[in-house]
């Protein structure tokens, strides 16, 4: 299940950076609340209920558009550490369960320099 999830996400995730996440949330918030209000006002003023309904549909589409990984969300990419190769002589593989931690201590890979 995990592997399938990772596979799907690789193509569909649409990652953006952290500043971008804040920005998208703000933009979408504003669009939703003012869009709904505007749709209501326009519908009332024109005395046409269906105009309000179409306006709400427009808001829904805008939500989808502004959730996409747009360039404005990618202005501040996170700085990763530089790549440093592992040359340690002792590598411990932790499987996260009690049973194998003691066993893995015996399984440490030795690497000759």
């Amino acid at each position: 299940m995990d592997e399938l999830s990772d596979l799907v996400q690789r193509y569909t995730a649409g990652l953006i950076d952290f500043r971008g996440q804040e920005l998208s949330e703000k933009i979408i918030s504003k669009i939703v609340y003012s869009g709904v209000g505007l749709a209501c006002v326009v519908g009332y003023v024109t005395q046409d209920f269906m105009i309000m309904v179409y306006g709400l549909g427009v808001v829904a589409v805008l939500i989808l558009i502004f959730s996409l990984p747009l360039p404005i969300y990618k202005k501040n990419p996170p700085t990763w550490l530089e790549y440093t190769p592992i040359t340690s002589s002792k590598v411990i593989i932790d499987h996260g369960d009690k049973k194998t931690t003691s066993a893995s201590a015996k399984k440490t890979a030795t690497k000759t320099d």
Partner: protein, 211 residues
Amino acid sequence: MDTFIRRSQAGFGKLTTALTFLSVFVGLLTILELKLGGVSYIGAAFDNVEPTMRWFDTRMFGAIDGNRKENARFAFDMDVDLTGLFNWNTKQVYAYVTIDYDTMSTSSGLINQNSLVIWDTIIESPDRANLTMKNARSKYSVYDIQSAFGSLNREVSISLRWNIQPRLGFLSYGVTRSKNQMKVVLPRKPRSKTRSAKRVVSQTPPVETSS
């Protein structure tokens, strides 16, 4: 929010909240609009209301356990303008003519209040909201709980009521004010087919003949 799905899910969550508030707002706004529009002051005029009584013995006409039921049908004139009930949130107006009357239950001594719909219509646009009818017939044959309906002092009042079905929000109900006090007496139709001379005399006024 890290992925497209998470961001759009959050966005739709906000939209749902906003829509809930919108629905309540629109519902209350419509009620306010109707109140300010004075819909409780809409008047209706009835005229020439003529009841016709008839006995039936099938379930459709209220007869059970083999007891026949006296039914009433009506002819009437009506004039009412319901355009004031229409706004942007009105989907349809259900307009219905009712007759209302009280009876006394002989066994328990309690007073029964009764209302029966004799005619109705559904109006979907304000162009058709002006109802002016001459010599219209009631759509439905109506009857009371007791098997006999008419009597010499069975007085029923006629009124036109309305129900607004909104596009979104709360249902509204109301009754028109009658421009004239419309009450009518339902006569009793004799049960047997052969009428006795006595009965005829007591129900109809004597006819003057010139000699």
